[in-house]
């Protein structure tokens, strides 16, 4: 584990550890200094990212001049201190041995059937510093086992050594302080108040940091032993945080995923979605190419399907390419090239969600091709942080953890939006109340105090939801140029940022190059080895593109990783697909799209391919295949074959694509600024909604324990609206298409908005209401 030090000049102290003289920064703990010279002091409660508590006493050492042994994990080194560890001090050795003997008094000897066996600090340290045999003859303490701390996390209390790592994590890092040490003495145990579940998006981390097998997850419990697993580093494919994870598999099946230490991104943590949502990788995959014959899909060989697809695409008229936000950078780049070179079209979009022209302009002006402008580490030292249309806990949980770390160091957070959420509370955020859909007004009307405090050390985080609030992004752009505050756009999906830089959107070529700029065109044409004139002109995006597909002006479609129910106009897309002349789908699971496609190609999932994701910072996070023997093709591989069936050469090799994309260095030429877009917030009550972290997303399927930890589907209204509606137990929200009735929750919501989860059980906004964020809805107390 790495500790990043930001200071250049550091005060130091001179100390001696086991006779070795060293100079360490002031404030260094004995245990950290000893690590640096390769002396391992046993420990359970110590964790570099948690505050020291000296709860387990396993790390006792001797300090000259101090009569009793001291805990190395909590002892700060001071000038001239002479420390002697178990290696040179008999007192320390006996003390550590004694502590270990006490810890083992009540610890069961179930290592052979314990999940931690083989990677257990207690097992290892009992062997290195413990006594060779036990003197304890009594009966060990037992508890009924296991108990659930939440649906996913199980607790075997008799194994616990009361190190308080889990409780400190819950309180200090996650901010969900419901996990506590209960009772005293031998009965001391981890638990939650009133047996309420430990409600946290980060609960899986307590399993990983537990130094014994007390905390286990329902999904991994008794599935495997650590030494039977093959571990590979990977990048999380669930959101744009870009966490480094470790995937452990056995016999071709992923058994678990753990957070990998990446001090610049996720430190040691991951969210529960990244950790537990991987069942989809194996379940219900499309196994062979499918072609539609007489209205029915049938299996086909690869060459047959390729020729069928090539002939179909060549015969059809104007085409379009829709890439969902889940593609790797290399795959998105392949789509970008395929559309421009093979299909000769610029009708291209990666935004399978509510989007706008304003957003496309904003992305071109402020985001595309700008890497590491704002980083995770910048958050810790920022002066002010402004969140606009962005709910970090749900939409980028690791960014949320970093914000919490920043808040502890004095960063002040302001959130502009219709709801003061639980997450805002955990960030001690200041709420700039805004009716959903009229964020632009709130931004331009920000208190002069807040605006005055914004400087080049401030960060404005904009979420993907801002696209659904007309005028918000141009207001952000103005605020940024007015105050000098840096702007960071945080999409929700892992592939969006990379797809933007790979040019998988109409109007932008790779590296943020405007397709209308002659210099940009010639740079790209040179890299692609084509004639600049053969590059298409600006095409359609977002809503306009979907409308064009529906109206039939684009009649051929290449579509990958898009779920129509994620789009506000998903029905139009489905209607368009039904009418289109030819639809090629690249998918790994069946969907509404594959049911209607002319030809379906199965593609690899993240465990079967190498590639990279670009996180919201613009940081490239490469990963390699876990299952190297997998025979599935990447999207780029399929596109390359399809291109050659259409007599165009397109390299489908991931490494070659990455190299080529890297050679197209970010655009340094002129960028068009965001136009001032009209603000038109609908009158009456508007809908506030976003996707909860754990919801009905298709990539979370197959993991019921995780789904059970989701937050309940409720309608959140302000106290005033609650009164006005006559204090109903359930509230019905009605949109153009239909209504949703859910239990009421009184929360800090703008009086003119009502909040619903976007895609949770019994609350699928687009399908059920037929409108989206910031649009007018009617609210009624009671059932429909």
């Amino acid at each position: 584990m790495t500790i990043v030090n930001h200071n250049e000049k550091i005060d130091t102290v001179n100390v001696v550890i086991d006779g070795i003289e060293m100079e360490v920064p002031k404030g260094t703990l004995v245990i950290r200094a000893a690590e640096q010279i390769g002396i391992e002091i046993p420990r359970f409660c110590d964790h570099p990212l948690l505050t020291p508590v000296a709860a387990c006493r396993a790390c006792l050492i001797e300090i000259d001049g101090v009569p009793k042994p001291q805990p190395a994990c909590a002892q700060v080194l001071s000038e001239g201190m002479n420390v002697r560890t178990q290696r040179s001090s008999e007192m320390a050795r006996i003390a550590q041995e004694g502590v270990m003997e006490f810890l083992l008094v009540n610890h069961p000897l179930d290592c052979p059937v314990c999940d931690k066996g083989g990677e257990c600090p207690l097992q290892n340290q009992a062997m290195t510093v413990g006594r060779p045999d036990s003197r304890f003859e009594g009966e060990k303490r037992t508890f009924p086992k296991p108990i659930n701390v939440n649906a996913e996390i199980l607790l075997d209390r008799e194994r616990c050594v009361s190190c308080a790592r889990c409780t400190r994590f819950a309180e200090e890092i996650a901010g969900d302080a419901s996990l506590e040490l209960l009772e005293r003495g031998a009965q001391q145990q981890v638990g939650t108040a009133n047996d309420e579940p430990f409600d946290s998006y980060f609960s899986g981390n307590v399993v990983q940091i537990c130094p014994v097998g007390a905390l286990t997850s329902a999904s991994y419990r008794f599935r495997s032993r650590p030494f039977d697993l093959v571990s590979v580093p990977t990048t999380c494919e669930h959101c744009a945080s870009g966490c480094s994870l470790r995937t452990d598999y056995r016999r071709g099946t992923v058994t678990r995923r753990l957070a990998w230490d990446d001090p610049e991104v996720n430190e040691d943590w991951s969210c529960d979605k990244g950790r537990f949502a991987f069942a989809y990788l194996a379940n219900g995959r499309i196994e062979s190419p499918l072609i539609r014959e007489n209205g029915e899909l049938r299996s086909a060989s690869w060459p047959e399907a390729m020729h069928f697809a090539a002939a179909g695409l060549a015969a059809a008229g104007t085409s379009a390419v829709l890439v969902g936000g889940r593609a790797t950078v290399e795959d998105a780049y392949a789509y970008s090239k395929f559309a421009r070179i093979v299909l000769g079209t610029d009708n291209l979009d990666f935004r399978a969600r509510a989007s706008s022209t304003e957003e496309a302009e904003f992305l071109a002006a402020h985001v595309a091709g700008r890497k590491l402008d704002v980083t995770y580490t910048d958050i810790e030292t920022a002066s002010q942080v402004l969140l606009i249309g962005f709910e970090p806990e749900d939409e980028s949980p690791i960014l949320f953890l970093r914000l919490r770390k920043g808040v502890k160091r004095g960063v002040s957070v302001h959130t502009v939006g219709p709801l003061y959420s639980l997450g805002s509370e955990k960030l001690s955020a200041h709420w700039v109340k805004a009716k959903a859909g009229s964020e632009a007004h709130a931004i331009s009307g920000l208190d002069s105090e807040i605006v005055g405090a914004l400087d080049s050390n401030s960060i404005i985080f904009v979420g993907e939801r801002a696209a659904a609030s007309p005028g918000a992004l141009s207001a952000v752009s103005r605020l940024g140029s007015q105050t000098g505050a840096r702007i960071a756009w945080v999409p929700r999906r892992a592939g969006e940022r990379g797809a933007l830089d790979a040019g998988a959107i109409a109007g932008l070529l790779p590296g943020g190059r405007p397709i209308s700029d002659p210099t940009a065109r010639s740079e790209v044409a040179q890299a692609w080895n084509i004639d600049a004139d053969s590059l298409p002109n600006v095409g359609l995006t977002g809503t306009e593109l979907v409308t064009a597909i529906k109206q039939g002006s684009t009649s051929a479609l290449v579509i990958a990783g898009v779920d129509p129910s994620d789009l506000p106009n998903g029905d139009e897309l489905i209607a368009g697909i039904e009418n289109a002349d030819f639809v090629v789908a690249l998918e790994n699971h069946h969907s509404e799209i594959t049911q209607r496609a002319s030809v379906v190609f199965p593609v690899a999932v993240v465990t079967e391919k190498s590639g990279s994701f670009m996180n919201w910072e613009g940081r490239s996070k490469p990963f390699s295949a876990a299952f190297r023997e997998a025979l599935t093709l990447t999207d780029a591989g399929v596109l390359s074959m399809l291109a050659s069936a259409m007599n165009v050469q397109l390299n489908g090799d991931t490494r070659a694509l990455r190299k080529e994309l890297n050679s197209l260095v970010p655009w340094s030429g002129p960028r068009t600024d965001v136009n001032n877009h009209e603000v038109h917030a609908p009158a009456g009550t508007t809908l506030a909604t976003w996707r909860l972290l754990i919801d009905s997303g298709v990539m979370q399927e197959g993991e019921p324990h995780l789904a059970a930890t989701a937050r309940p589907s409720v309608v959140a209204v302000s106290a005033a609206m609650f009164e006005q509606l006559g204090k109903p137990e359930v509230i019905t929200v009605t949109g153009p298409k239909g209504s949703i009735t859910l239990p009421t929750q009184v929360a800090e919501v703008s009086n003119e908005s009502v909040w619903l989860p976007m895609n949770s059980p019994e609350s699928h906004i687009y399908a059920q209401l037929g409108c989206g964020y910031g649009q007018a809805v009617t609210v009624k107390g009671g059932a429909a």
Binding site: P112, V113, R221, F222, R223, R225
Partner: protein
């Protein structure tokens, strides 16, 4: 005394042996006369509790202990609807590959529930490799009187600890589905 010619002397052994007890064992004709010793390491058996539930919990310790890599186990979760063993897990897949097994017995030493033991059966030869991979149904012990074929519930009012403490003496009528025969005795000791 003058020595007899060597050719005649040789017959001394032959004639002498004719009147001694025969040491040749007639296998397989008389094999029942020569049973293996009680602790002979023969084919494995997966045992059951007295009520018919399986003892194997799918912990894979046997596979782990096996020096010949002859054992393959895949565990699965018991549920209230489908229970094969007391406690949380059971062995869903259990295979022993007798082309690899060296009958060392480390697996039975490793087994924490005495689910795996060895019988005296040694006649395992076959003419193909596939049949020498014994599946769970080939290894499971016989259904003795008082046993019910799983899946079924644990004896009402008992926990897995009661099973491990050997307090179960047989199945009780409540454990069986209507179609199954009900044994006379059983319950908890």
């Amino acid at each position: 005394m003058p020595e007899l010619p060597a050719a005649v002397r040789g017959f001394g052994v032959t004639f002498g042996t004719i009147f001694k007890k025969v040491v040749t064992e007639q296998y397989p004709e008389d094999s029942s006369k020569y049973p293996p010793k009680p602790r002979f390491h023969g084919r494995h058996q997966l045992n059951r509790w007295a009520d018919g539930l399986e003892k194997c919990i799918g912990c894979e310790l046997c596979a782990w202990a096996c020096p010949a890599d002859a054992i393959f186990v895949q565990g699965a979760d018991n549920s209230d609807e489908e229970r094969y063993s007391p406690g949380e897990r059971y062995g869903r897949v259990y295979q022993i590959n007798y082309t690899r097994c060296i009958f060392c017995g480390l697996c039975i030493e490793a087994c924490p529930t005495r689910a795996l033991t060895m019988t005296n059966e040694f006649e395992l030869a076959d003419n193909n490799r596939a049949d020498l991979i014994y599946e769970k149904q080939d290894l499971l012990g016989p259904m003795l009187p008082g046993m019910l074929a799983p899946p079924h519930d644990m004896v009402p009012g008992t926990t897995d600890s009661d099973y491990y403490a050997n307090k179960i003496t047989g199945s009780v009528p409540q454990q069986s589905t209507p179609q199954q025969s009900t044994p006379q005795q059983g319950g908890v000791a």
